[in-house]
Symmetry: C2
Subunit: 209 residues, 2 copies
């Protein structure tokens, strides 16, 4: 694994470059924590962006969907794609409207996705996707059969051209007269938590977690 | 306000159309709950997708950023844009790998963004953005001065061409032999919550909330 990715014209962080990173460890941690990504590509009608689930395995980010999906068929043709993953960590409140912000960790990737064709690689990517839902869940359900595997398209985007951007910490300090303004400044953390599992109506088992 | 948007080639919901909606009430509720959106456009290097904050006011979705931002300058030129807003509500676990899914509410929009040029409209959009952080926060901080307003670009995308897509409820029922599989099925809700506010090091006031 390359420790740091090369900087290209489209991964150079121009705005607030001190918040940017091309380190694989930084990029991978964000990709691995987020449960969904947003996939952008050029359609015949212009740019389109669609949400989907993803998983990183080694040096690829995998997405999947129905073999009939317009997006997956477009991407499988090898067109350029951009994928963004964003974690929103906090709201940032300053004394001035101008210094309000959000704390976040995001990754933007570029490249051409590859169709994963051999069954073993496809099954590995799908198992990894399911293991993101709950640890080892892919071994606590029936794996895809041949028909299901055929109806599913898996695409892998190599992690070659990507950058991370992170904002963290308190608001930028207000300056001069603004420091004396009688307004609170600080951050409100945001948390994503899992609630109590709800068993399906047709299931008689208790949640095993 | 149009109650239901016209269906165009790029807002027709092809996959799982029963999950789609073009009702403004459905679309607006999703836009209003989500704190960030993902903006896609064609750059000279291919498609790009970037996260940013947004607010809906009436029939427009507003985004903002530095007047020096490459994305905002590109979009202000009137190129086609696609904006996606996604709320991830739950993880969906079935007895079969194939029926695993997520519950979500998303909106995908298309069109050309308009530069908001007059100061009153710009201030209104920026105030609405800040009020999303905390109720009435825009009146509990110093509003933007002329210099700050000049350094900020605000763009509005009219809500003309958009669709919502929603998955909710339990997993699709597994069928036949799969029903007897000894695996739990159901959903794990996901919640986004606000944590305890953290006051900035240079602020002596207590959080007023």
């Amino acid at each position: 694994m390359t420790l740091s990715l090369p900087i290209t014209p489209r991964t150079k962080v121009r705005r607030a470059p001190q918040r940017g990173s091309h380190e694989r460890a930084v990029i991978d941690a964000i990709l691995d924590e987020a449960l969904i990504c947003h996939v952008a590509f050029a359609s015949e009608h212009g740019p389109v962006v669609i949400p989907t689930t993803h998983v990183r395995l080694g040096d690829h980010l995998y997405i999947h969907g129905s073999a009939a999906s317009h997006m997956l068929r477009s991407l499988a043709g090898g067109i350029e794609v951009s994928i963004c993953v964003t974690l929103l960590d906090a709201l940032v409140l300053a004394r001035t409207a101008f210094h309000h912000s959000v704390n976040y960790r995001s990754v933007v990737m570029f490249g051409r996705a590859e169709l994963v064709e051999d069954a073993a690689s496809k099954l590995a990517a799908l198992a990894a996707l399911i293991d993101r839902v709950a640890p080892h869940r892919s071994t606590a359900c029936r794996p895809p059969n041949a028909k299901e595997l055929g109806a599913t398209t898996v695409l892998g985007l190599p992690i070659i051209e990507a950058s991370a951007k992170i904002r963290s910490g308190p608001p930028l300090p207000d300056e001069g007269e603004d420091r004396a303004l009688p307004y609170w400044a600080g951050v409100i953390p945001l948390h994503t938590t899992r609630g109590t599992p709800i068993t399906a109506p047709d299931c008689t088992l208790a949640w095993p977690g």
